[in-house]
């Protein structure tokens, strides 16, 4: 089954739309779903032009395609556990929150908290991801615990903050403090970033570019070969328990 949702142009176009109901599983029972624009509850078809092709009995067979000014949509794919969501343009905050299965593909850019506290499944972002990609919630101790997030563009600050499991791969540069408070899982940044692994106490963080503003509390161990890259291995963050692994191609201290 393929559900196509085209966002209608709206008068007050800047108010965000919270659409946590857009999850493949929900479309097995039809398209009578609520979404919220600010403090107003609206029907799905008041906000989107909805069309459905074919039918399905299993979540895995449902694909949802979103188009239009989708950067205003928040919480798409929240608690998603199977099926597929494709966003043809940019997507708003909290896409794939608490996701445990299925696939989300963002063809454009993703706003903050992409895949927040994700436990399983796959998110692919063809453009850039904003701050707190694959991170946790405020004050929480565990962020992402499983699954995969792959970003082909750049990522913002606090990428994979509090990550405790799963894999995050960013093909471009990352911002400040990727892998802050990391306690498990794997983070790979193909480009440059600032201050990776701040206060980490577990897990592995790989930076194939330069780690700028490298923190002084990482102990150099030696060089290793990893996927065709020669990387310098550090243990840290020794200000914390120091049991994390940080691998960087090059580094600069703020000295």
């Amino acid at each position: 089954m393929k559900v196509t949702l085209a966002l209608k142009p709206a008068a007050r176009s800047f108010i965000p739309i919270e659409a946590e109901s857009i999850v493949p599983k929900n479309f097995l029972d039809g398209t009578d779903l609520p979404v919220w624009r600010g403090n107003r509850e609206l029907r799905l078809d008041e906000v989107f032009s909805v069309s459905v092709e074919g039918d399905a009995d299993r979540t895995e067979d449902v694909e949802v395609v979103l188009s239009g000014e989708t950067f205003r949509l928040k919480r798409v794919g929240e608690y998603m556990d199977g099926g597929r969501v494709t966003i043809l343009g940019d997507i708003g905050m909290h896409c794939g929150n608490f996701m445990s299965g299925g696939t989300i593909e963002v063809r454009g850019n993703a706003d903050g908290w992409l895949g927040r506290e994700m436990a399983g499944g796959t998110i692919v972002c063809r453009g850039d991801a904003a701050d707190y990609c694959a991170a946790g919630y405020r004050g929480g101790r565990k962020g992402m615990t499983g699954g995969t997030v792959e970003v082909f563009g750049r990522a913002g600050d606090f990428l994979a903050e509090n990550i405790a499991g799963g894999t995050v791969i960013v093909h471009g540069d990352a911002g400040d403090m990727p892998g802050a408070e990391m306690r498990g899982g794997t983070l790979v940044v193909h480009g440059d970033c600032r201050r990776p692994g701040a206060n980490m106490k577990g897990g592995s963080c790989y930076v194939y570019g330069t780690a700028q503003g490298m923190l002084p509390t990482f102990r150099k161990i030696g060089t290793v070969q990893h996927e065709g890259h020669t990387l310098i291995r550090f243990a840290g963050d020794i200000a914390n328990r120091g049991k994390g692994n940080l691998f960087v191609k090059a580094y600069e201290y703020l000295d």
């Binding site: 007050r12 800047f14 405020r138 201050r195 206060n199 002084p216 200000a239 703020l254 000295d255």
Partner: protein
Amino acid sequence: MIVKDAVCPFCGCLCDDIEVEVEDDRVVAVTNACELGTTKFMGEKRMKSPILRDGDRWKDITYDEAVQYAADMLLSAERPLLYGWSGTHGEAQCVGVHMAELVRGVIDNTSSVCHGPSILAIQEVGHPGCTLGVVKNRADLVIYWGSNPIDAHPRHLSRYTRYAEGFFLENAFRDRKVIVVDVRKTETASIADEFVRIKPGGDYAVLSALRAIVQGKTDTIPRTVAGVAREQLIRVANLCKSAKFGAVYFGLGLTMTRGKYKNIRNAIELVSELSRHTKFTISAMRGHYNVYGSNEVNTWMTGYPFGIDYSRGIAFYNPGETTAVDILARKECDAALIVGSDPAAHFPRKCLEHLADIPVVQLDPYPNATTAFCNVQIPVAVTGIDAEGTAYRMDGVPIRTRKVLSTDYPSDREVLSRMYALMREALER
């Protein structure tokens, strides 16, 4: 008439030993207050009555008309923003939270642009703090990190630290050491025993290095960290460890620079580490006299300290999304009520562009930068001068501010309560 023990409604120190001389319903002299507090008490040129924008002119309107305008604006909005709250008393803040819930809006206070990051850090690792009186009487080491009290909290030094007597200190001025950490040599740095000058953006690295040094892991630390020599870091760590009672006070130099709440988290974790060796505490140098109160009121009423979004009927909190600067910059609100702050003087241009596009009502005694963005401004009494109410000092101690003179202006609480009653009536109809 002289009013004794008046409370100064300017900064988070909330000094409660002010003497104010009043003649003919005007403040004519102020004793004990600093220059900032004196200026606030002596403030003049208040707005006379509520004003409504009428094309490119202002029209005087009545309080009833102004309150009705605000109520209609908030009721018709899909995502109203209720911002400010730090420059008013707790009782008005309570009404504000009720209003936000009633109209399903977003309520945020000025801590989202000052010590919000401190609260995010406290939510991660807790707050080993204490009252100012404890520091005054016990602390033999005080660290000012990214704060400049001589300019911003002038009486903090004389009432609680550098120049204060201490019950458990024989000769407080001699026995109490002061360390200042900043990116430039401030006036406070020039009265410090030790000044640590950090390269801008290097606070996190220096805090991490200090944590490692306190744990005895000195070998890993490079020769300089963000412009600070390793020897100085070791000296500072030893000063801290050998103190009987240490207190860290941090300001916006730590909360609003690169890393933001991670800086504060690191500072708190340094304090926790030091508390394995001696007694150490850490507190924020809060700005507005009742910004701490706005966090308290919001927390006890909603569960969250600032940036609370009621649009779905329940409280949702996510700084970076539900905070005023982010909402305005992303054009995510369609009306704004401003109480007790002046966002136009402090917010980025992009935010003000949206503020100019939406209806805005402000409660403020004086014309200010935000007036230029208002559709309606309602003058109110000033808490601590012609209105009384509860405020929270920077260390969380509630102090009731006093009225030193009487005027006809209604207080924030009175105006907001009338607004709330009108809206409630309209919704029940």
